[in-house]
Amino acid sequence: MGDFPNALRSAWLPRNPKVRGFLLDITGVLYESGGEGGKVIPGSVEAIQRIRNSGVPVKFLSNETQTSRIGIVKKLRKHGFDLCVDDIITPCPAVVAALNERQLRPYLVVHPDALPEFDEISTNEPNCVVIADAAHHLSYENLNTAFRVLMNSEEKILFTLGKGKFYQEDGELTLDVGPFATGLEYACGVTAEVIGKPSESYFLEGAKRLGMRPEEVVMIGDDIESDVGGAMKLGMTGILVRTGKYRPTNENHQVKPDAVVDNLHAAIDQFLE
C-alpha cells in the first residue's frame, strides 16, 4: 500500500519492517506547555515539515482537554506547525460519542475552554460524570458535586479523559486528571472508564485514523506509561523523547521503549532520510 515505506530509514527498521506511519503526542513533544501558549521545542516545527514532505501519514494523538481541537490548532499554527483539526485526535469527541450512544447526561468537570466540545450534550439531571484535566476547576466543590452525582446514580459511571499522573507546565510538575479520577474511584468504589491514552481503544482509534494496523505505527511521546507503554502494549513501536515531562529515572522504568531520543527532531531524523 503506497510507496512511503521506502522513505523510512532507521536503526529500528530491521525490527519493525512494517512501520508506515506516525502517531505523535502534542504537549511535551511539539511544545512545552506554559503561559502565553507555551514554548516550541526546538526542531519540532522542522520535524513535522519533514514528515509532511516525506508523505508518511501522521496523526496527533493527544490527551489535551484544556481546550477544544480548534483551540489546539490555533495555538500550534501560531507556533508555526502545519496541521489542521482533522489531524488531531483528542478525548472530548470520543467521550461525546460514547455519551450519545449510551444516552447519558454528564456532570462535567472540564476546563471552561473545552466546553464547546460538549455543546450537543444535555447536562440536565446528570446521571454520570466526565472528569478531565480542568486544572484550577478541579476544586473540592466540583469534585464533591461529581461525587454526589455518582453516589445518587443507580449505575455509577465515571469517564476520565486520560489517566495521566502529571505533566510539566512552566517548568513545574503539575497534577493531571488521573489522581483526581483515582480519588473519585476510591470514594465511590467504582472503576473509571478511561477515554484517552493509555486505553487500548484510543490507540486503536489512532491506528484506524491512519488506516493502519497497530504494528505499522510509531508512537512518539514524553510519557513513559501513558504514551510509550500504552502504544507498545498494542504492538506499536514506542519512542520516548527527552522533552516535556521526561525525567532521567524514566529510563529505569519497567516499560522499555523501543528507543529513547533527545527530541522529536532526533526521532524523525532516524526514521526519515
Partner: protein
C-alpha cells in the same frame, strides 16, 4: 476493692453520644467503669477538632473526662511527626491546627500530612503537596475515610485526596488513624499495658472493633450510632462481644465478660 488492671479504649461519636446528645445512661456507666478498672482512654478519628474542643463538647454533655485521656488520629499524627522530627506541610482543618504548633515555618518541608480539610484541598495546595512527595517527602494520612456526613449531605473525606496523591507519586501513605493497628498500640504506649490488657468499645465494626482486635485487644461492638443490623457478620472475622449500648458494654467488663443474661 482494688481496681482491675485494664485499659478501656472508648470511641466517642456513636458510642458515648450522637451529635450533641449523650446516649442514655452513658455518663453514669462511665463513672461506674472508672470505679472498676484502672484506666480509660477516649479514641476518635477526628480530623477537624482538637482535643480541647472535643473535651469541652463532652464536658457540656455531662461526661467526666480529662483532656489527656483523649487520643485522636491528630494526636497520633503529631506523635509520629515528633518521633521522626519531621517538618510538615499540613493540609488539616484550621480548628485542628492547634495540635500542630511548634514546627519551623521557613525550613524545607519533608512530610505532607493530609487530614479532613475541604477548604485546604484546592488544586494549588494539592499540587504543592504532590511536588513535595514526588521529590521524596513522606505522606501521612490522618485517616483514609472515603466520605463523611455533613449538614447538606455526604461529602468527600480525606481518603480520596490521599488516594490521589498516592496515584500521582507512586508512594504509599502512612495512615495513623483507626483502624490501623499502630493507632491502638500508640494510644496505650508507655502506660505499661499489653494489648491483652485492653478492651475497645465502639459502634464501627471495622474501624473500632476489628481494628483493635487485630492489635491483640478485646473488642466490643455497641448497637448504637452508625451500627446497622448485620454489621457483626459483615467482615472476615467477628467482634469478640456485642453489647446493646455503652451501659451494657460496661456491664460486660465489670462482670469479666460473662453476660448477665447468659
Amino acid at each position: 476493692m482494688a481496681k482491675k488492671r485494664l485499659c478501656a479504649l472508648i470511641d466517642l461519636s456513636g458510642t458515648l453520644h450522637v451529635d450533641d446528645a449523650a446516649i442514655a445512661g452513658a455518663q453514669e456507666a462511665l463513672r461506674r467503669l472508672r470505679s472498676k478498672i484502672s484506666c480509660v482512654k477516649f479514641v476518635t478519628n477526628t480530623t477537624k477538632e482538637s482535643k480541647r474542643l472535643l473535651h469541652s463538647r463532652l464536658t457540656k454533655m455531662g461526661f467526666d473526662i480529662a483532656v489527656d485521656e483523649i487520643y485522636t488520629s491528630l494526636s497520633a499524627a503529631r506523635n509520629l511527626l515528633d518521633q521522626r522530627k519531621s517538618n510538615p506541610l499540613l493540609l488539616v482543618d484550621d480548628f485542628a491546627m492547634e495540635e500542630f504548633h511548634g514546627f519551623p515555618t521557613n525550613e524545607e518541608k519533608d512530610t505532607v500530612v493530609v487530614g479532613l480539610a475541604p477548604e485546604k484541598f484546592s488544586y494549588e495546595n494539592l499540587n504543592e503537596a504532590f511536588r513535595l512527595v514526588h521529590a521524596g517527602a513522606s505522606l501521612i494520612a490522618v485517616h483514609k475515610a472515603r466520605y463523611y456526613k455533613r449538614n447538606d449531605g455526604l461529602a468527600l473525606g480525606p481518603g480520596p485526596f490521599v488516594a490521589a496523591l498516592e496515584y500521582a507519586t507512586g508512594s504509599k501513605a502512612y495512615v495513623v488513624g483507626k483502624p490501623e493497628k499502630s493507632f491502638f498500640l500508640s494510644c496505650v504506649e508507655g502506660m505499661g499495658f499489653q494489648p491483652h490488657d485492653c478492651v475497645m468499645i465502639g459502634d464501627d465494626v471495622r474501624d473500632d472493633v476489628l481494628g483493635a482486635q487485630k492489635a491483640g485487644m478485646t473488642g466490643i461492638l455497641v448497637k448504637t450510632g452508625k451500627y446497622l443490623p448485620g454489621d457483626e457478620t459483615k467482615f472476615e472475622f467477628s467482634p469478640n462481644f456485642v453489647a446493646a449500648d455503652f451501659t451494657d458494654a460496661v456491664e460486660m467488663i465489670c462482670n469479666d465478660f460473662v453476660s448477665p443474661k447468659a
